[in-house]
């Protein structure tokens, strides 16, 4: 079954790439794109959006409540 989690990689005509993770929660979000990013080259910017922090907070709450 499809999980809805995906990684979108956009490679510009000059070889600059961006790796965007979607549908992952918390730490998994960082881990998901790491292998792809490492294969491509050197990270020059790392942006975590507000959704990243919301997802991370939600995951922590689940851990605390045991849900």
């Amino acid at each position: 079954m499809a999980s809805g989690r995906r990684i979108e990689v956009t490679i510009a005509p000059d070889g600059m790439a961006s790796v965007e993770t979607r549908g992952y929660r918390g730490r998994a979000c960082l881990d998901a794109g790491k292998a792809i990013a490492d294969a491509l080259g050197v990270t020059i910017a790392d942006t975590r959006t507000s959704e990243f922090y919301q997802a991370a907070e939600s995951a922590e709450q689940h851990e605390r409540t045991g849900q």
Binding site: E8, D14, M16, A35, A37, V42, T47
Partner: protein, 146 residues
Amino acid sequence: MSHIVTIQARLRDPALLAEVCRRLGLPEPVRGTMTAADGQTAEGLLIPLPGWRVPIAVAADGTVRTERWNGVRLPIAQEDLGRPARIAGGGWNFGGYEPYGQESELNKLLQAYAVEAAKLAARRAGRNVLEQRMADGSVRLTIEEA
């Protein structure tokens, strides 16, 4: 959207680089030393690009060295010759020297390598990849869990 990483391409995998060169119709990379017009050198895997006076050199860390940028200074200082003139079809003409190659030839290699590197990493992780070429010349890969 939750996390975005911006990456500068590095050509780290020699086997993949050779494969990409074949696909682009370029000669296979050969280990050697590139010598710029001013005598400066750069070692690595040498790849001749169409229209370029000397090959590019790809160092062990994947960094690309050319005569014009990225650690190797211009062989002829601009102030020595006056402002270089852009020639028809792109590139620059530095006086009596052959024009340097068009940046687009290097960019083509960088993009093709990055696309194949990302696809290879995704396949190794057991993921499915959908490739789309966009109107602006970029390539988008959508990678999903199998």
